[in-house]
Subunit: 488 residues, 2 copies
């Protein structure tokens, strides 16, 4: 069954530069200023989509560039949305169908922001390939395409699909709607979805990401009346809205970081022994992370506790207050309407609507103050957590591929932040989703001097190709097993 | 010894318009855009100072326009300061010397801000004289000068001094230094200081002001490290500075408005029976005040409690937080350095340095949190309260004058805000200071449609003249009594 004849994957990365060479591909793509954030660069994003579509077509894929229309900027200007590319390569119903999601738009970048090299000229220094989009996400997209190209040269036992967008850095406008529309069509025969739009937890050790926290954002508004008042003329005789709000916010979390909202931990999944073991082996430099944050001391002392509290326990952060005095200096004002902002990073199996109801705990705190002011608590934004099953064939195959190419088992990691795209694909398509990064922790996505190392880029291509092999083996095995089960 | 021969004061305000007529004087002064806030109108302030100096010279006063040099604007521009006018009229050591402080600069005003009439054209509508500076402070300054002019036509038994400035609305730059320099010279023979730069508590009933609260402003800074952090990447594993700050601010004041800083009430002067009586008779429309504030309910239900808590008890107001997210919407940031701002309106006999020490109570609250963050509490601004003795001859004379002219006793009132100029004069010169308003509560200082009623302007002139008579009588009486005591 091994289509490579047990030889594993070998690719020649030393052929001279030319069309289809991985480094010249990346150089060409990085040179396109496909910044989706700045409106005047939108035409470059659209040009980038054409390049990406051509690259897939060159692979032999059927390519459909779906027009998503336009969107309106805050200033009223109408701006065209770049198309989303839906690509398809292979349609054998015997083979597993792996769908890859990636994006070819980038964050803004200017040399004068503090780049050592021109951000749009891919430059190799000490084995690192510097350039905007090198790791987020042009490099991984090309690594995948190159892996498919190589794999195709062997006997093709995997069907490939591609979803490539150009608005990820600007909120993936239109993507969710497209996924919903295509769920019964494009996605109907998809078995697995791979996203490679994040990085490892360490600089050296590969990782697979199987979950992310959600985010429930809350506004707490307290209002006393029509206008801001002078603290000389009204201080001491009124219930000040900001004093009320401070008390409400102070009721949310204790000095140890424990959330004080009754019942909030009730639905948090219990930590299994298997899960705890996953954490033990993870490569994570606590001191390095502390240094990066600038913080003197974390709430917990061990790597395991830190990661558990970052990934699989909820946290509550207060972000600020709108409507109060926020400038330097002193203004002796009693603000009449203040809005506190906080968010809860929630985790499986917390339910957003339950969390929303639990936060109404603030109404009780408020009513005990006997304040005549008006309280309004709302949740304008609620993103759910995402969690995949690490025992899914998708994760098994990726793990084996990593072991084969990198010689070690990956870390199984989560993301403390919210990864809307993974959650979106999983929720809409109900397929298995994996986040399969090839970039390292120090790649600097969104930062100056973004890079991917030449090693990661090339080994990443290999690991994707190895993954195709493993998933095809596992899939066939599963298929045969389930056929046997049916026969039995 | 009544120099008016027991006839009381009578003035003819019905002579035709002309030089020296009270209304044409005020019309001329209001027409000068002596706005000290806007740099490009500074020349108008300086022109106004010349007008005021000329007016005093026309009285027969010796006038010294003291040059205060210049000050620098935030943009680096050097702007000349208007001079302070020191005037002197009469030098008989047998007579009391009354020094009047007033200012002839004004707040900015534009027709399009919502004025019904041109702000720089004094316009009479239904008995009210509308115009910028009509009540704050050109009207009262002219009422005083006109009273002196009238009184001078009689037998002069009071020596007058004048301090007229042109930077009051811009922070009285240079005034304090001048007072200190002149303390042993110009102020050496001053017995009483009168300021008429505020308004009554009601629209109809005259008032004398004998105190104001101080203001101690505090900054509470909590910092965790170098940069703002992402709540997904660090939420749940660090001691968030804003959570610490919220807890610190929440420890300051309880829902009833009671300040929770230990010892803060220890030095507050006990309420005497005599004082409580003063409050009973005060004319104050609680419902009107509530309506003006927009607040549904005050912390206290009676007029007396409200005024006590506004004037003679301290209050604590939280104004806002610098460094946190303050814009509309949500930003899932953990701010690394946040600065809470609050102030305590303190009252006699609270001592600023004691208050500052007591606020270090926050350090204890912080240390109980076991937070590794850095706390810094500072008091960048501390203005002391001001309190005069209502049994001082100055107040007795003013009270008698009001009774004579208005036919009723004045309210003895304080100001919940800080009145730096009264405190400054009293602290530096150690003389008796009175705030002797002639404007009504609805005059709208600093607002659109500022006015003084024709009635208040003219009766104000009369009451000042009557006051000269009373203070001369009381002073002579005191002088004779003290001479007798020395002889005994």
């Amino acid at each position: 069954g091994d289509p490579s004849g047990g030889r594993g994957i070998s690719m020649d990365f030393h052929k001279p530069d030319g069309c289809g060479h991985p480094l010249s591909d990346l150089k060409e793509w990085v040179a396109v200023q496909s910044d989706s954030v700045q409106p005047d660069l939108r035409k470059e994003v659209i040009r980038m989509m054409v390049l990406a579509a051509d690259r897939l077509a060159a692979l032999g894929a059927t390519v459909n560039s779906v027009n998503l229309g336009s969107h309106q900027l805050p200033n009223g200007q109408d701006l065209p949305l770049p198309p989303v590319i839906l690509g398809e390569l292979g349609k054998d119903p015997q083979n597993p169908t792996v769908c890859f999601y990636g994006h070819v738009d980038v964050q803004p970048a200017k040399k004068e922001d503090g780049w050592k090299t021109d951000p749009y000229t891919l430059t190799e220094i000490n084995g690192n390939l510097y350039g905007r989009g090198a790791t987020d996400n042009k490099g991984p997209v090309l690594a995948w395409i190159n892996a498919v190209e190589t794999f195709r040269a062997l006997k093709l036992v995997v069907n490939f699909k591609f979803v490539i967008e150009g608005m990820e850095e600007a909120g993936s406008l239109g993507l969710e709607k497209l996924l919903e529309e295509e769920n019964q069509c494009f996605f109907s025969d998809v078995d697995y979805i791979v996203i490679s739009d994040n990085v490892w937890l360490s600089n050296k050790k590969p990782a697979l990401t199987y979950g992310s926290r959600g985010n429930a954002c809350f506004l707490v508004e307290v209002e006393c009346g029509g206008k801001d008042l002078h603290s000389g003329t009204f201080g001491g005789i009124i219930h000040e809205p900001l004093t009320d709000l401070i008390a409400l916010l102070d009721s949310l979390v204790d000095p140890t970081g424990h959330i004080q909202i009754p019942g909030i931990y009730d639905s948090v999944a219990a930590l299994t022994e298997e899960e705890r073991k996953l954490y033990e082996s993870i490569e994570f430099d606590l001191e390095e992370h502390k240094k990066n944050s600038g913080v003197k001391k974390f709430l917990y002392g061990t790597k395991e506790e830190i990661l558990l509290h970052l990934w699989r326990y909820p946290s509550l952060s207060i972000h600020g207050i709108e409507g109060a005095f926020h400038e330097p200096g002193i203004k002796t004002v009693i603000p009449s309407k203040v809005i506190g902002k906080f968010s809860i990073r929630q985790v499986p199996h917390m339910d957003l609507s339950v969390v929303k109801r639990q936060v109404r705990h603030l109404e009780g705190v408020f009513s005990r103050r006997n304040s005549p002011n008006k309280l309004k608590v709302s949740m304008p934004l609620g993103a759910k957590p995402w969690l995949a099953d690490v025992n899914d064939p998708l994760y098994k195959a990726a793990r084996r591929a990593i072991k084969k190419v990198f010689g070690e088992d990956p870390d199984f990691i989560r993301d403390g932040s919210t990864v809307p795209v993974a959650r979106m694909f999983q929720t809409i398509t109900q397929k298995s989703v994996i986040m399969f990064p090839i970039g390292a922790a120090d790649d600097g996505e969104h930062s100056q001097n973004e890079k991917i190392s030449r090693h990661n880029y090339i080994e990443g291509t290999k690991v994707f190709a190895a993954f195709f092999l493993e998933i095809s083996k596992l899939h066939r095995h599963l298929h045969e097993t389930s056929n046997m089960e049916i026969k039995n």
